[in-house]
C-alpha cells in the first residue's frame, strides 16, 4: 500500500512535471510577456499604483517603478487600458510587432485643454521690439508688408516703421531718426554685413522675405552688445528651419521667381536653401511704352541671389548655425540722341553699365556650459565687388544767342557759333573683403540680475579704383566788362580729372560689459552697459588710429499699470547713451593728407530718449517716444579743386549734428478681420561741417553751405505711414500701405540765364546756368506712396500645398499726383526739359501679379 502510494506520488510528480512542461511549451507558442511602464506625461515620473486593465480582463497594479507585466498573444492585436486616479485613462495597442516594453504617458484629466494647446503663430509685433530701444516686425506683419510689389523686400516693411524716414519707392536706404542713410548697419544673426546690403545701388535690400523670419530696427538707446552705428542697427533674423521638417515654397510673379526649400539636416538639424531670379525685361518693355525715361534702359535691372541657412543641435546645450548669401545685380542704360540746335545738329551719347556682387558666409555656436550661462560665437567672411562705368559725350556745333553776341561779340572775333567736344566719364570699382568674429558671454547672477561681456573684431580690406573725368566750372572771382558797358560774372571751365586708387585696411575692435536687471513679475527693469570701440585704418603709406571711444548706455523701464480695466499695461522707458561708428567714406582716404595726430575719430552720437507704451483691450498698442541726439566727431570731406589746382579730398572729423523728434505708433495687433498700424514721425535734423567749403561745384550737397548749419539732403520733417490689412473672409486679404512724407531740402533756384565760360584753352563758349543756393526753407514736393495688394488663398483638403494668388499695384497715386522737383534744362540751349520735373518717384504705377505655392 505504502509502495503504491509512493509510486502514485512519483507518478503525480511526473504528471505535474509533464503538465508544467506542456503548459510552458504551450505558452511559449501562444503568448509573450510585455512590460508596461506608466508615467506622468508631463513630469515623466513613474505612477505607482496605476492600474493596468489587460485585454483578457486581468487587472494589474504598477509597482514603485510604475511597471506592470502582462501577457499578450503572439498574434493579433490587443488593447490595454491604464487608469490612475486624477488622470485620464490611457490606452495602447499591443500587436505582434510591438516591442517587449511599452510606455504609457498619462495626463492629468478632468479639464479639456483649450487655448494653451492651440498652435499659435509668432507674436505679430514680434522681432523682440522693446520700447526705448527698437521696433520690429515679424510673422504675418512681415509677410504682408514685405511681399508686395515687383521686388519683395524686407526693407519694404522696415520703411513703414516709426522713426524711419521715407526715401522713395525704390530706396531701401532710409534715414533712421535723422541719421545718414549709409550709417545704418545690418546684422544677420550676429554677422555684420560690412558693405551696404543692397542691390541696385540701394534701391532694394538683399533681404528677401523668404530668408527672413523677423527684423528688428534698433534706433533708440540699444544694448551695449551692439555697435558700429550712430543711427540705426538693422538686426535681421534668418529663418531657422526646424529639425525634421520639410517645406517647399515656390513663387512665380510677373517679375521674379523664388524657390525656398527647407529640409532636415540629420536628426537634429534643418537646412534652408533660397534662390531668387528676377526677369524684368517684360516690365521694362511695358514701361518703355509709357515713359520716355525708361527707354534708355538697355539691360533690364536684374537680381540673381541665393541664400543658405542651416542649424544643427549636437547636444541639448550646443547648437551650431550657418548662414550664407551670394547675390549679383546690375543694370545697363544707353542714350544716343541727336538734337537740333538751330541749324546745327548735336549728338549726345550716354552709357551706363553697373554690376554688383555681394556675398558672405558666417557660422555661429551657442553653448550652454552651465545652467544660466550662455556663450555665443559668430565668425565669418564677406565680400562685395561693385563696378560702374558711365560715359557721356556731347558733340556738335552751337550757335551763340543774339543776347550773348550783343554782350560778348567783341571777344568772339566774329564767330557766330562754337564747337562742342565734351566727353565726360566715370569708372568706378569698389571691392571689399571682410573677416569678423565675436564672442558673447551671458551669465545669470540670480535675483533678476544678468551680466554679459563680449568682444568683436572686424577686419576689412577695401579696394577702390575710381577715374573721373569731367568739366569743372567755377564762378570766376572777378568780372568781365561786356560790350554793353556792364560788368558781368563769368565762369572758368577746366578739366576735372580725379583718380583714386586705394587699398586700405581697417581693423575695428570692440568690447563691452553690461548688467541687466529685471524685477520678478515685471514692474522695473534696467540695463547699464559700457562699450569700447577702436578703429585702426592703414593705407599704402599711412596708419591712422582713433582714440578708443567709450560708449556708456543706460536704460530704465517702468511698468506703471497692469490689467486695469481696458488697460492691459502701461509702461515708461527712459534711456541715454553714446554710440560710435566708422564713417563709410574714411575707407577711401588715399593718404594721410592733412589729418593731424589725434584728429582721426569715429562718428559719435549721444542719444537720450523717453517714451511710453500702452496696451489695451488685448488688441491695441499705443507708443510714443521723444528723443534728442547730438552728433559729434562726424567725418566729412571737402573737394579741393579748381583751375590749375590738383584735385584733393580733404577729410575732417569735427562735423556736428543736432537731431530731435518724436515717433507715435498706434497698432492693431494681428487679428481675424483686420489689423495694421498707423505711425507718425517728426524729425528735426540739422548738420554742420565747421570747416566745410562753400562752392558752386560740389560733389556733396553738404559742402555747398560752408561752415553753417544745414538740413541734410535726406531730411524730411514728417513721415506718416498707414498699414491696414483687411480680411473680409479668411481666403482673401487686402493689404494697403499709404504714406505721406514731406519734401526733402531743395536749393533755391534762380532764372536760367546765359553765361560766358572761358575754357582752359582760352576759347569762349556760351552756357546756360541757373544759380542754385542752399535754402533752409525750400523743400521739394511731398510724397504720397500708396500700394495695394489683393491676395487670394486656396487649398486642397487632400494636399499639403497652399496656393496664394495675388495682384498688387505700387505707387498707385502717381496716376493723380507725383512730387515735383526742378526741371532740368539743356545747358547749351537753355531750354527746359518738360519731362524732367518729376522728383523722387517713378511717375507711374507698378502692377505685379503672381502665384505662390507652399508645401
Amino acid at each position: 500500500m505504502i509502495f503504491h502510494l509512493v509510486v502514485l506520488h512519483r507518478d503525480m510528480r511526473r504528471i505535474h512535471f509533464i503538465a508544467a512542461v506542456f503548459f510552458l511549451r504551450l505558452f511559449s507558442l501562444y503568448g509573450r510577456e510585455v512590460v508596461i511602464r506608466v508615467e506622468d506625461g508631463e513630469l515623466g515620473l513613474p505612477l505607482e499604483g496605476a492600474i493596468v486593465h489587460s485585454w483578457d480582463g486581468g487587472v494589474f497594479e504598477c509597482d514603485e517603478e510604475g511597471v506592470s507585466r502582462i501577457e499578450v498573444p503572439d498574434t493579433g492585436r490587443v488593447v490595454v487600458r491604464v487608469s490612475y486616479p486624477g488622470y485620464e485613462t490611457g490606452r495602447l495597442v499591443i500587436g505582434a510587432l510591438s516591442g517587449d516594453e511599452m510606455r504609457v504617458l498619462l495626463r492629468l484629466g478632468g479639464v479639456l485643454e483649450s487655448r494653451e494647446l492651440v498652435v499659435e503663430a509668432a507674436a505679430p509685433e514680434g522681432g523682440e521690439a522693446r520700447p526705448g530701444r527698437s521696433v520690429g516686425v515679424s510673422g504675418e506683419s512681415l509677410e504682408r508688408t514685405a511681399r508686395v510689389g515687383i521686388v519683395e523686400d524686407v526693407m519694404s516693411s522696415v520703411k513703414l516703421l516709426p522713426g524711419v524716414g521715407y526715401g522713395s519707392s525704390f530706396d531701401a536706404m532710409p534715414s533712421i531718426r535723422g541719421g545718414a542713410p549709409r550709417d545704418i548697419m545690418a546684422v544677420l544673426d550676429g554677422f555684420y554685413i560690412e558693405y551696404p546690403p543692397y542691390h541696385w545701388m540701394g534701391a532694394v535690400s538683399i533681404f528677401d522675405p523668404n530668408m527672413v523670419s523677423a527684423v528688428r530696427l534698433s534706433h533708440g538707446v540699444f544694448s551695449a552688445r551692439y555697435g558700429h552705428t550712430i543711427s540705426g542697427l538693422l538686426e535681421v533674423s534668418s529663418k531657422q528651419p526646424p529639425p525634421g521638417e520639410t517645406a517647399v515654397d515656390v513663387g512665380v510673379s510677373t517679375s521674379a521667381a523664388t524657390l525656398n526649400i527647407e529640409a532636415p539636416l540629420g536628426k537634429s538639424g534643418g537646412l534652408l536653401l533660397m534662390g531668387k531670379v528676377t526677369y524684368w525685361d517684360p516690365v521694362i518693355w511695358a514701361a518703355k511704352q509709357v515713359s520716355e525715361d525708361v527707354r534708355m534702359v538697355t539691360r533690364a535691372p536684374y537680381i540673381r541671389s541665393g541664400a543658405v541657412s542651416a542649424n544643427y543641435r549636437f547636444t541639448r546645450d550646443l547648437k551650431w548655425s550657418l548662414n550664407g548669401f551670394f547675390g549679383t545685380d546690375g543694370v545697363g542704360a544707353k542714350i544716343t540722341e541727336d538734337y537740333a540746335e538751330g541749324a546745327a545738329v548735336n549728338s549726345m551719347d550716354i552709357s551706363l553699365d553697373y554690376t554688383n556682387y555681394i556675398g558672405f558666409l558666417s557660422m555661429g555656436l551657442v553653448w550652454n556650459p552651465a545652467s544660466g550661462t550662455v556663450v555665443k560665437t559668430v565668425g565669418g567672411v564677406g565680400f562685395a565687388d561693385e563696378g560702374a562705368e558711365f560715359s557721356q559725350s556731347d558733340t556738335g556745333s552751337v550757335r551763340y544767342s543774339q543776347d550773348f553776341l550783343n554782350t560778348w561779340g567783341s571777344r568772339l572775333a566774329g564767330a557766330t557759333s562754337y564747337e562742342i567736344r565734351q566727353d565726360e566719364s566715370m569708372s568706378e570699382r569698389i571691392s571689399l573683403l571682410n573677416y569678423q568674429g565675436r564672442v558673447d558671454l551671458d551669465r545669470e547672477l540670480g535675483g533678476g540680475f544678468l551680466a554679459a561681456v563680449g568682444s568683436q573684431v572686424l577686419y576689412t580690406v577695401f579696394g577702390a579704383k575710381e577715374i573721373l573725368h569731367m568739366l569743372g566750372e567755377d564762378e570766376a572771382p572777378s568780372q568781365l566788362l561786356g560790350d554793353d558797358g556792364l560788368w558781368h560774372d563769368y565762369y572758368m571751365g577746366y578739366p576735372f580729372d580725379y583718380t583714386l586708387d586705394v587699398r586700405n585696411r581697417s581693423l575695428r575692435s570692440s568690447g563691452y560689459g553690461l548688467l541687466e536687471y529685471a524685477q520678478e513679475g515685471g514692474g522695473f527693469g534696467a540695463e547699464l552697459g559700457l562699450r569700447v570701440d577702436h578703429l585702426r585704418l592703414s593705407g599704402r603709406d599711412y596708419t591712422l588710429s582713433s582714440r578708443p571711444t567709450l560708449s556708456p548706455r543706460l536704460n530704465l523701464d517702468f511698468e506703471l499699470v497692469r490689467n486695469a480695466g481696458a488697460l492691459d499695461s502701461l509702461g515708461l522707458t527712459a534711456g541715454t547713451g553714446l554710440f560710435s561708428s566708422m564713417d563709410d567714406n574714411v575707407v577711401f582716404i588715399p593718404d594721410r593728407g592733412g589729418i593731424e595726430d589725434g584728429e582721426f575719430r569715429l562718428n559719435r552720437s549721444w542719444t537720450s530718449l523717453a517714451g511710453t507704451k500702452a496696451e489695451f483691450l488685448g488688441a491695441f498698442s499705443l507708443s510714443f517716444e521723444a528723443y534728442y541726439k547730438y552728433i559729434f566727431d562726424r567725418a566729412y570731406q571737402n573737394i579741393i579743386t579748381g583751375p590749375g589746382t590738383p584735385e584733393e579730398i580733404d577729410f575732417r572729423f569735427n562735423g556736428e549734428g543736432r537731431v530731435w523728434g518724436f515717433d507715435v505708433m498706434l497698432q492693431k495687433l494681428s487679428s481675424r478681420y483686420w489689423d495694421g498700424w498707423l505711425s507718425y514721425s517728426f524729425t528735426h535734423a540739422r548738420y554742420r561741417d565747421p570747416q566745410g567749403i562753400a562752392r558752386d561745384f560740389a560733389i556733396s550737397d553738404n559742402a555747398a553751405v560752408g561752415g553753417g548749419w544745414y538740413y541734410p539732403a535726406f531730411h524730411r520733417f514728417h513721415n506718416l505711414n498707414l498699414v491696414v490689412n483687411i480680411k473680409p473672409v479668411s481666403s482673401f486679404t487686402i493689404t494697403t500701405r499709404v504714406g505721406f512724407a514731406s519734401g526733402v531740402p531743395r536749393k533755391e533756384v534762380g532764372a536760367i540765364s546765359s553765361r560766358l565760360v572761358e575754357l582752359a584753352d582760352g576759347s569762349l563758349i556760351e552756357k546756360y546756368k541757373r544759380r542754385e543756393v542752399y535754402s533752409d526753407t525750400a523743400r521739394g514736393g511731398f510724397s504720397l506712396p500708396l500700394d495695394l495688394k489683393f491676395s487670394f488663398f486656396s487649398y486642397d483638403p487632400k494636399s499639403k500645398v497652399k496656393l496664394e494668388v495675388y495682384f498688387a499695384v505700387e505707387n498707385l497715386l502717381s496716376l493723380v499726383y507725383t512730387p515735383k522737383g526742378d526741371r532740368d534744362f539743356n545747358e547749351y540751349s537753355g531750354k527746359e526739359e518738360p519731362d524732367s520735373e518729376n522728383a523722387y518717384e517713378i511717375p507711374f504705377p507698378l502692377p505685379s501679379f503672381g502665384f505662390k505655392w507652399s508645401y
Binding site: 479639456l112 485643454e113 503663430a121 494636399s799 500645398v801 505655392w853
Partner: protein, 285 residues
C-alpha cells in the same frame, strides 16, 4: 462673332491658368514629398477600387522602412483617411492596424496616425477583391503626427500633445452632437458643416440666422476677435466644452480640423458602411 472670340480666348486663358496652377501645385507637392521622404516611405504593389467613381479603394502597400506589407483602405467621401489593415490570412481574416488621417485648412494642416482595433475579411482574386469589416472599429490613441499652422510647424512630442488635446476636444464635441440628436444623415462634410455650424458657432452667422434661444443681452467674452455668448454656451453645451467654446478654441478646431470632427462624428456610420461587402476591381497603372 468678335464677342464670342473674346469669350473663347478668356476661357482658354482661364483654363491655361488653372492647368498651370494645378501642374505647379503637383510639382511642389511631389518635391515636398520627396524631400520629407514620404514619397519613398511606401511602395504601391497593387490598387483596387470600386467600379463607381466615388467609392472605396484598397491599395496593397509595402512599408520601405521595415518591409511590412499591408492594405490601405480609403473612402472617396472621406478624403484624408486611410484605414490600414493587415494582409488577409488564409481564411481571409484581417486585423485593423492603424489609421492615417490628414486634414488641411487655409493656414496649414494636421496629420496623424492613430492605433485602432478591429477586423474583417478580405478576399482577393486576380483582378477583383472583396472587403468587409466586422462591426465597428475601436479607436485607441494617436501615436504620432505633425501640425503646421502658418510658419509654425510641430512634430514629435509637441505635435503629439497638441493633436491628442485637439482629439479630446473633437471627441467631446462629437459626443455632444450625437447626444443632442435630431441631425440628419450626412454624406459630405459640406452638409455637416451647414447643419451644425449654426448650433456650434452662431456668433459667426448674421443675427437673423441665429438659434431661437439666442439672447443679445447675454454676457459676452471676446476671444479670437469674436464676442462669444457665454449664456448660450452654458445653456447649450456640456460643462467640459464651456471654456473651449468661450476661449475661441472651438472655433479654431472647427476651422482647422472641421473634417477631422466630421470623421469622428461619422465613425460608426463609416464602419457601418464598410461592414457590407464591397466589391473592388484591380486598377492597372
Amino acid at each position: 462673332m468678335f464677342v464670342m472670340k473674346m469669350c473663347v480666348r478668356k476661357m482658354a486663358l482661364i483654363v491655361l491658368v488653372c492647368i498651370f496652377c494645378t501642374a505647379c501645385a503637383s510639382l511642389v507637392e511631389n518635391a515636398g514629398r520627396a524631400l520629407d521622404g514620404s514619397a519613398f516611405a511606401e511602395k504601391s504593389l497593387a490598387l483596387y477600387h470600386t467600379e463607381s467613381k466615388k467609392g472605396v479603394g484598397a491599395e496593397f502597400l509595402r512599408r520601405n522602412s521595415d518591409g511590412l506589407e499591408f492594405i490601405g483602405v480609403s473612402l472617396d467621401n472621406m478624403p484624408g483617411l486611410r484605414i490600414n489593415i493587415s494582409l488577409p490570412a488564409e481564411d481571409g481574416r484581417f486585423n485593423l492596424l492603424w489609421l492615417d488621417f490628414f486634414t488641411s485648412h487655409l493656414d496649414g494642416w494636421n496629420e496623424f496616425s492613430m492605433d485602432a482595433v478591429g477586423g474583417g475579411f478580405f478576399r482577393r482574386e486576380r483582378d477583383t477583391a472583396v472587403v468587409r469589416f466586422e462591426g465597428s472599429a475601436e479607436a485607441v490613441a494617436i501615436t504620432g503626427g505633425k501640425i503646421r499652422r502658418r510658419e509654425t510647424r510641430l512634430s514629435g512630442e509637441d505635435a503629439l500633445t497638441a493633436l491628442r488635446a485637439r482629439e479630446e476636444r473633437i471627441r467631446a464635441l462629437a459626443q455632444w452632437m450625437k447626444e443632442r440628436g435630431g441631425a440628419p444623415e450626412f454624406s459630405v462634410w459640406e452638409d455637416f458643416e451647414a447643419y451644425w455650424k449654426p448650433f456650434v458657432l452662431p456668433e459667426l452667422l448674421p443675427a437673423r440666422e441665429r438659434p431661437a434661444n439666442w439672447n443679445t443681452a447675454s454676457q459676452m467674452r471676446r476671444a479670437e476677435d469674436i464676442y462669444w455668448n457665454m449664456d448660450y454656451t452654458r445653456a447649450v453645451f456640456p460643462e467640459n466644452l464651456w471654456e473651449v467654446r468661450d476661449s475661441g478654441t472651438l472655433l479654431r478646431d472647427w476651422e482647422e480640423a472641421g473634417r477631422w470632427l466630421y470623421f469622428v462624428y461619422q465613425w460608426e456610420s463609416l464602419f457601418g458602411f464598410l461592414a457590407g461587402e464591397t466589391h473592388l476591381v484591380r486598377i492597372e497603372r
